[in-house]
């Protein structure tokens, strides 16, 4: 279970082995000529060993930036502006690049988005898997010999559900699903205990998507690894994850167990997200969430969701909501902060504050 911010802050920074990954008040900013874009702005969560955590949000919510920051793969003009990322107890934020390289693949591995573009087109699949293994041989450790390598590749390909003969093929000879399996084989080649999967099945057909997610689940159970799944498909989250974190405009707005959040979403954004899911119910109209996510350079004052929120009230324009613990979950919304304003009594009538996108009203 993901514990919430308050608990995280009070916990000791060093050697807490219960969590595979602890992210504390992480800030990732991009310096642009027009100002600083706060792509990830004060996000905290914990990930236990063996837990499957899904981070959802629309494009631009900062979920991929967060995943890349955890892998320490943030590129210019982005930089980690504050906070901590504890990986198996060690803070990686200020770790030198050389040390990070010895952790990647051994402790944390990335299953990238669109494996078709992340494989080298002129290298055989087997060679690409060896590449990762050889590149992460620790100093003083003897590199594996030829027969060990062959055995390792054979074993990895079988584990991801591929024929061992695939090792001799080039990426263009593989289908999209097979390429994604190769990317998974590379990711698990050194038995990491944290797997970051950034939209691993976008652009794949539903049946292949299901097979890839189920394979990933099987690998995760075998390694007893923690998985951070980044995506926008709530269906996949419901099928795969134990816990869910909903991001909006760079902040986590709700965190909780998957059954709890799907049954009883607290944050108005999560509620709309779940209501707008397509279904096979013919009588239901296809609804979207009105409006668009605000530009991160130009966030509205107060809660970033206030232009689209159906239960917006006066306080939402003044104050950024704190992340509050409720019922073993966490939510960042003034509706649940009963100390100041009783919940469910919006000062401004519902819907009044919605600035509908012209596309929707047209």
């Amino acid at each position: 279970m993901v514990t919430i911010e308050q608990e995280t802050r009070s916990s000791n920074a060093s050697g807490d082995d219960e969590f595979a990954l602890r992210v504390e008040d992480l800030k990732v900013y991009y310096g642009t000529p027009r100002g600083t874009v706060k792509a990830v702005d004060g996000v905290s969560f914990n990930l236990k060993q063996g837990e499957r955590f899904a981070l959802v949000g629309e494009s631009g919510s900062g979920k991929s930036t967060l995943a890349m920051a955890i892998m320490r793969l943030t590129r210019e003009p982005g930089h980690i502006a504050g906070g901590h990322i504890y990986l198996n107890g060690r803070d990686v934020v200020d770790m030198p690049e050389k040390e990070i390289r010895s952790i990647r693949l051994r402790e944390m591995a990335l299953v990238p988005q669109g494996a078709m573009n992340s494989l080298n087109p002129v290298m055989r699949v087997g060679d690409q898997i060896i590449d990762g293994i050889m590149d992460h041989v620790l100093p003083g450790e003897s590199p594996p010999n030829k027969s060990e390598i062959d055995e390792r590749i054979h074993d990895l390909l079988i584990r991801v559900g591929l024929d061992p003969n695939v090792a001799r093929l080039h990426p263009h000879e593989l289908s999209g699903g097979m390429k994604q399996r190769v990317a998974m084989a590379i990711a698990i080649s050194l038995d990491p205990n944290i797997i970051v999967a950034d939209e691993p099945t976008s652009a794949l057909d539903v049946v292949v998507q299901r097979q890839i997610m189920q394979t990933l689940g099987r690998l995760q159970e075998g390694l007893e690894a923690a998985v951070l799944l980044v995506g926008h498909d709530m269906g996949l989250v419901a099928q795969f994850a134990d816990t869910i974190g909903v991001m909006y405009a760079g902040k986590l707005v709700e965190v909780g167990s998957v059954p709890d959040v799907f049954k009883d979403p607290k944050h108005p954004y999560t509620q709309l997200l779940i209501e707008s899911l397509p279904s096979f119910d013919i009588s239901r109209q296809f609804v979207g969430i009105p409006g668009m996510q605000p530009a991160l350079l130009n966030l509205p004052p107060g809660c970033s969701f206030n232009p689209r929120c159906p239960s917006v009230h006066e306080r939402c324009f003044r104050e950024v909501p704190a992340f509050l613990p409720i019922d073993g979950r966490g939510v960042a919304c003034h509706l649940y902060d009963e100390t100041v304003i009783p919940a469910q009594t919006p000062v401004i009538p519902a819907k009044a504050g919605i600035q509908r996108d012209e596309e929707v009203t047209n």
Partner: protein, 345 residues
């Protein structure tokens, strides 16, 4: 009934020429369908990538020719059309593509894509008539001419660009629109408006629509009929709500089961098998036999014929050989006919 287009046992293969070491890839395998003009409908062609759905659409568009079989346009053999008929065909069949940006030349204002077909097909006699036509078409798809005309493509949102493409298709007054994944690159919140404008073209103006997609949820929402393709064959077809809500072919069942339902209490079953043969040209029988949970001996011997399971549904599967009769005419027109009267639409 007057028949607009008909594919008669059409097969299309790629590659595998005299000097090729590999067998040809069969993209569309012996498909017969017809599109009727009097009863314009929205027909979905669904299937995974490589199932042949886009090839089938390109055949209907006339951009590629069948390897075997014949294609008819208003009763005439498509390969022997006269110049005039060929010109008319280009006017009567229009398409909307997946990428709402790729369809525009970024150096021209969006007016260009709307004016070109009018000029090309000489649809308007005067400048005022042309403007009126464009404005009418934009209104039909729910756009304000003032917001869109005179702008460059990059100044418009993806949803607006895609709706201008719908307006363009509409200007030419086609009889058939082929929409190839028209909403897969558009934000979810704008999908509804685009699908709605496509539906209005069908319901209000009576244009037949072929909607190509892998998204069965939107297929159920807008279409009347569906063809499910797998490895080039139409494995199941019929009334959309019957096929999607109660799939009969094991492939359709797998497809629908695999849609990730946003319900933590309703999880996927066991991991389905991956295809044993990537190259299915060597398979004699049913092309789904290597993955099918109900596979029988006969499935590996001969390709199953279509069985008529209900008045408005057929499936190519031996599971139904005892309970249903073989389709006499493989043309799916009889499956799709007369649905309007029945549904009181």
């Amino acid at each position: 009934m007057s028949e607009f287009m008909r594919l008669d046992h059409v097969t299309r293969t790629f590659g595998g020429g005299a000097f090729s070491t590999k067998p040809p890839i069969v993209a569309v395998d012996d498909v017969s369908i017809s599109i009727d003009e009097d009863e314009p409908k929205i027909t979905t062609i669904a299937g995974e990538s490589g199932s042949g759905k886009t090839t089938l659409a390109r055949l209907l568009m006339g951009t590629i020719k069948p390897t075997f079989g014949t294609m008819y346009y208003r009763g005439n053999d498509f390969s022997k059309l006269s110049r005039g008929d060929s010109w008319k065909f280009k006017q009567e069949v229009q398409s909307i593509y997946q990428d709402p940006f790729g369809s525009y030349n970024p150096f021209y204002k969006v007016d260009h894509v709307l004016e070109t077909p009018i000029n090309r097909f000489k649809l308007a006699t005067s400048r005022t008539a042309k403007t009126a036509m464009i404005e009418e078409a934009l209104a039909m798809v729910g756009l304000q001419p003032g917001d869109t005309l005179g702008r460059f493509p990059h100044q418009l949102s993806g949803g607006q660009r895609q709706r201008i493409m719908v307006a363009r298709a509409l200007l030419i007054k086609p009889r058939l629109i082929l929409a190839d994944e028209p909403v897969s690159m558009v934000d979810a919140s704008l999908r509804a408006t685009i699908l709605d404008s496509i539906r209005r073209l069908n319901r209000e103006i009576g244009i037949s629509v072929i909607y190509i997609t892998h998204d069965l949820t939107t297929a159920l929402q807008i279409s009347d009929n569906i063809l499910v393709m797998y490895r080039g064959s139409v494995v199941e077809s019929g009334a959309v709500e019957r096929v999607i809500l109660e799939p009969k072919h094991p492939y359709t069942q797998l497809l629908i089961e695999s849609i990730p339902q946003p319900d933590p209490d309703n999880k996927w079953g066991d991991e389905p098998p991956t295809p044993r043969f990537e190259d299915f040209s060597s398979m004699f029988g049913c092309k789904f036999a290597d993955r099918c949970p109900h596979v029988m001996d006969i499935c590996n011997e001969e390709q199953p014929p279509g069985y008529r399971l209900e008045q408005h549904r057929q499936a190519q599967c031996y599971l139904y050989q005892d309970e249903a009769s073989e389709m006499e005419d493989p043309d799916l027109a009889s499956i799709f006919q007369d649905r309007r009267a029945e549904l009181n639409v």
